[in-house]
């Protein structure tokens, strides 16, 4: 979108004119779409792209279910993909038959949330671990105990991101269960542990990069990319992978069921599976992308980052995060309300 075109597009917005020929409307997490890559796509295919933000899978799902908002592409997290599919908001666009699909790293082809990739294409993936300021706490950082049984040094300086699925998963694995367990004995222990640990936490909030860098907080349950950004500002911030189990997530691009610009959307899915384009995404969002060969185009500080490259010995502890069955989710909700009240 050129600046000179801004006012024209505003006029078009008010008029609500029908979608122009070369148009693509992306609905994505905020601050997650590389403007550089979009510019390249616009030039290459002569398509005008709009980007609209959301801040949670649930909001995106609610909006798409209601329909009519004109989005062509959406980027749900892996755990939500089966829900998006069963609620009928994604189009079966068969990206596995697209030209660039061969670039997708084998590990990300046959994923549980979209077997064989009939709906979605990898966008970015990462882990949820624990960022620790090692100048304040010198011990082993690959442990969920830092948050649930915190050492004296960290008490009152801990942040936990308010993501129910990830935090519950971390706690359940810490107490010896598996994600989405419905085992009441485990869940009671989890609830008691969370409630017991809460007074040691300073906050349950997003946006912790600056606070980690400024030592307002000394540890945080966190995304790996955010932890890396904090480290670039303050080298004491290290990222730990809890040995008892940590979650691996992947956000995936898909075409919406009521897309108006299906052909352009297909072009876009194919486009982001090209290594150099996927690398642009990663350089902007600071996460890995699941496209083989993209490493060659990535910034040097990403290729070697310990937050992006999981150490060999800790790879086994990671589990791919999934959505839990409704009856289990109800119990988790009750625990979560109790925790955040």
């Amino acid at each position: 979108m050129k600046r000179t075109a801004l006012l024209t597009s505003l006029a078009a917005l008010i008029a609500g004119t029908a979608q122009a020929e070369g148009q693509l409307n992306i609905y994505n997490w905020g601050n997650y779409t590389s403007p550089e890559m979009i510019e390249k796509f616009e030039k290459e295919f002569d398509i005008a792209v709009t980007i609209t933000d959301y801040d949670s899978n649930d909001t995106a799902l609610a909006k798409l279910k209601a329909g009519g908002s004109g989005f062509d592409i959406v980027v749900p997290s892996g755990a939500y993909v089966p829900i998006f599919i069963s609620e009928g908001v994604l189009m079966k666009s068969n990206p596995n038959e697209m030209e660039n699909f061969s670039n997708v790293t084998p590990r990300w082809v046959d994923v549980e949330f979209d077997p064989g990739r009939e709906y979605t294409v990898p966008w970015q993936w990462g882990t949820v671990g624990i960022s620790v300021n090692t100048s304040i706490y010198g011990g082993d950082i690959d442990s969920a105990a830092l948050v649930f049984d915190p050492p004296e040094e960290l008490k009152g300086k801990i942040n936990v991101i308010p993501e129910m699925i990830d935090v519950m998963g971390l706690a359940i694995h810490y107490m010896g269960g598996e994600q989405c367990t419905g085992d009441k004995d485990v869940l009671v222990k989890v609830r008691d542990k969370l409630v017991e640990a809460k007074p040691s936490w300073l906050s349950m909030a997003y946006g912790n990069i600056d606070k980690l860098a400024n030592v307002d907080i000394a540890a945080s349950v966190n995304w790996n990319g955010a932890s890396m950004r904090a480290r670039l500002q303050n080298e004491d911030v290290k990222f730990g992978y809890p040995q008892t189990g940590y979650s691996i997530w992947m956000d995936n691009a898909a075409i919406t069921a009521d897309a108006q610009n299906v052909e352009n959307a297909r072009l876009f899915l194919n486009f982001i599976m090209l290594p150099e384009n996927a690398a642009m995404l990663s350089n902007f969002a600071r996460y890995a992308n699941g496209i083989t060969g993209s490493e060659a185009f990535m910034d040097a500080d990403m290729a070697s980052a310990p937050e992006i490259n999981i150490p060999e010995n800790l790879q086994g502890a990671g589990y791919i995060s999934k959505s839990c069955p409704p009856e289990v989710q109800k119990i988790y909700s009750q625990i979560w309300t109790e925790l955040t009240k």
Binding site: L10, P35, D53, D55, K63
Partner: protein, 266 residues
């Protein structure tokens, strides 16, 4: 009575007012300062730079969000204030009538319901219209904003209207002024501070709205707040500070111009 005795003075009031002004501007000054920060962070000073102005200037998403925010706020504030004046005339200084309480509750209803609830119900309601008509333009947002601005416009106008001196209007009517003329030349000038207050409140309320906009917006309709909400999970960049400072500078210029205008007019 001694000449030095000022009937308007209340001890401590000026001090509190001054404190109030200082407190109001303290966060704003900080925001302005950080817009010139050379570093990545909105909370760690790393030297003076204009880089965030440059990058905001190149960020199409921020720019269209800013233009959209202001467009919606101006339109919604104007509409809300206009209909609120009419509604205030109908519900104030009249004999109590059947249904007055209902009208009052209706006007204030947007105040009573948390944003998220209006947002979800509007999402469902507007989506039906969007699907049926295919129209996905800005008017959904404008109408939604107008609706929740109405009580904010209505309250100060009603407060102004209550106990406003009726004798002038009666005199006007006695001199065979039509109701429209009486309103235009007598009521409106007296009502003006209330209208101004209501209009400004509506403008601000519309500019701040996040949740309803988030649920009502269609493709390409991010406003500044929804754009920021999207960033909240990751990190807010100082580009936001830069664009806010720029908007602030423009408003201060406008106010200064108004100030000189009002002085020369005297």
């Amino acid at each position: 009575m001694a000449k030095s005795f000022d009937v308007r003075r209340q001890p401590g009031f000026t001090a509190i007012a001054m404190l109030c002004f200082v407190l109001l501007y303290l966060p704003i000054l900080l925001l302005v300062a950080y817009s010139f920060n050379a570093g990545q962070s909105i909370s760690q000073w790393e030297g003076l730079s204009l880089r965030w102005y440059a990058s905001a200037w190149q960020n199409d998403q921020i720019q269209s969000a800013t233009i959209l925010s202001v467009t919606i706020a101006v339109t919604a504030a104007f509409l809300a204030t206009s209909v609120a004046v009419l509604a205030a005339l109908a519900t104030t200084r009249v004999k109590p009538w059947r249904g007055q309480t209902v009208a009052f509750a209706m006007i204030n209803q947007p105040l009573m319901v948390p944003e998220i609830v209006t947002a979800v119900s509007l999402l469902i309601f507007f989506a039906m219209i969007k699907v049926a008509t295919g129209y996905t333009g800005l008017w959904y947002l404008i109408i939604a904003h107008t609706a929740f601005c109405i009580p904010f416009a209505y309250m100060p106008i009603r407060a102004r209207l209550q106990g406003m001196n009726l004798s002038l209007e009666q005199a006007g009517a006695d001199l065979y002024g039509t109701p429209v003329k009486v309103f235009r030349y007598i009521t409106l000038p007296q009502l003006w501070p209330g209208i101004l207050a209501g209009g400004m409140l509506s403008f601000v309320i519309s500019l701040d709205d996040v949740v309803i906009t988030e649920f009502v917006k269609s493709a390409g309709q991010d406003t500044l707040p929804t754009y920021m909400l999207g960033q909240l999970r990751r990190n807010i960049t100082p580009e936001i500070n830069a664009i806010s400072t720029a908007l602030l500078a423009i408003s201060i210029l406008m106010v200064t111009a108004m100030f000189f205008f009002s002085r020369t007019r005297k």
